[in-house]
Symmetry: C2
Subunit: 345 residues, 2 copies
């Protein structure tokens, strides 16, 4: 039975010394687990998210299998959207679809403020259930999509290659862009603080799509919004600020905020940490595709990242992006075991 202040993950977030490097995996509650697929078989994805018993169960599944140092609540970055008036559905095998993409001033103005108690009440109960189960074992992370990622999703209406519509609004109508980002950020702040109030012990802001921007655009169109969000979270819990393809944005992301900056696999972790400065924690960064390789290759890659971090206080091991659905489960286990063993102080 650990006390909250002793959790290895939370200690690393505060850059305190730990007995070994903590590890968790983005998307660890998910399709690579057969017990997840069994629950998901006759239910929709949104039904899974919106049923607290199921969301809690799925959050706990990887914690039972593996010696993970943190759980992350099962949810989707798009969950706040319906409450804002966005028509969101998950087409079978096609991912999320938005029926009314945001394209005009009128679309922006008609967005509603998110009321978490009304729109995402299930999340509170799921968090409370998980907290009870994990007491003394590991902390629970809450999360939200970052404003650029959510806003471009809402504009493009789904995934995008070039973000022509999102950047079109940014460049063509910066006033509307910022008004939109303000609204999205308001929703994110209430969404995250609702989770904090419900009991999550850390939060991660996922800027999964921010890698389509160069530093000048990030600074002008994204930075002030992400900064406002990270400054509006209850300061007593650690914040992780993660982006994908964000090598050139790291100094700005640090400036925007986060006790820990998450980096993807495209950066050498030690180089990225030097660039960020060691007055902030770092999370990452094994290429998720490495988990398809033989176990000895996985171990050598884990060792390389640990060496690059140099057992410095403040490293949280993770994948550089979410674990892929086809990943062999035992390889994920081998990675987690290797992180603890090879980083033992």
């Amino acid at each position: 039975m650990l006390m909250t202040e002793d959790y290895r993950f939370l200690k690393a977030c505060r850059r305190e010394e730990v007995d070994c490097t903590p590890v968790w995996m983005m998307r660890q509650a998910g399709r690579y687990l057969e017990e997840y697929r069994a629950l998901r078989a006759d239910r929709t994805f949104l039904e899974m998210c919106r049923t607290p018993e199921l969301a809690a169960e799925v959050t706990l599944q990887p914690m039972r299998r593996f010696d993970l140092d943190a759980a992350i609540i099962f949810a989707d970055i798009l969950l706040p959207l319906p409450g804002m008036g966005v028509d969101l559905s998950f087409a079978k095998g096609e991912g999320p679809v938005i029926g009314n993409p945001v394209r005009s001033v009128e679309d922006v103005d008609s967005l509603l403020p998110l009321q978490p108690e009304e729109h995402v009440p299930f999340l509170k109960e799921a968090i409370q259930r998980v907290r009870k189960e994990l007491e003394g074992r590991a902390p629970l992370i809450g999360f939200s999509g970052a404003p650029f990622t959510l806003a471009s999703y809402m504009i493009e209406g789904g995934g995008s290659k070039n973000y022509v519509n999102a950047k079109g609004l940014m460049y063509g109508r910066p006033d509307v862009w910022h008004r939109f980002m303000d609204k999205v950020s308001d929703a994110i702040i209430s969404y995250l603080n609702f989770q904090v109030e419900a009991g999550v012990q850390a939060v991660q802001l996922f800027d999964s799509w921010v890698g389509t921007l160069g530093p000048a655009d990030y600074q002008e169109y994204v930075y002030p919004h992400s900064q406002r969000i990270l400054q509006s979270i209850d300061k007593k819990i650690p914040t992780i600020h993660f982006g994908t393809g964000n090598a050139t944005l790291l100094p700005l992301m640090k400036k925007a905020g986060g006790d820990v900056i998450g980096v993807d696999w495209r950066s050498d972790l030690g180089d990225a940490w030097s660039l960020l400065g060691h007055d902030v924690g770092i999370q990452g960064n094994l290429d998720p595709v490495t988990l398809f390789a033989p176990v000895e290759v996985i171990e050598s890659r884990v060792q390389r990242i640990l060496s690059s971090a140099g057992n410095r206080a403040g490293h949280i091991f993770n994948l550089g992006h979410g674990i892929l659905p086809q990943t062999p489960v035992e390889h994920a286990g081998a990675m987690i075991e290797a992180v603890h063993r090879l980083s033992a102080r």
Copy 2:
């Protein structure tokens, strides 16, 4: 009538002083031009590439419209594949499809050596035609896909999100991976030298997909092959080494070779140049999506990049990636004009 040694583009490749910054656009011969779409209307893409009169005409189209400082031969990075025994087709509206993706040792061993005179003879005639037309006006660039990009195309059988098969081979069977990369590199070397012999005055190696790799993987699995290619080109003409999403790979790409390193829009150009060192040229790096913005926004972005380069000898202006098919033609023209005007020494 300019002499070859006076071409602004070639001078910049050699890092000599120029009267203003040269500019060309990746994919400048293409669908954003109505005169291209007219020729393409009742022909397949491969027919366009394989008919020297058409390939030459399409190469020249943007040169007639704009004050571009270089032409690039109309071709596709996948053109060398059929000669190697790869079953390549371009499905309507779906991009390239490979009928027999390379997955096993046997697949690698059954690849044939490219014989350019036999497999891509049309390219020679197209190059000769363009050279004749452009004499005294602008130089002609030849190009090839880089070995990682071509190899992963051949393995995945088309575009890919996670490169699970390509990385699977790299991590799981490094011996087979390197044997495969050797064969692909041999083909690229003969393909590029065939173009050099036919008359191109510079070559660009496109590593469009290399951004999926971190530096350690690049060094181990890609670097030696790209280096061998860049060392095997007739040294009398400049080489440009371009990658997408390559911010963390820049120092290694420079080490692999290239008189000029191409950077995408995710890096600040001046920062990237400092990282590379000023003993190499740099090409880039306007976000192609910027060309959808109002002209005054385009101008301010052009100015920002020029300021970042500081009128230092060795900068070639370009987009950070290929021009998009829906781009307004007059915006491309405005960008080209702005580059020359705002960079006049």
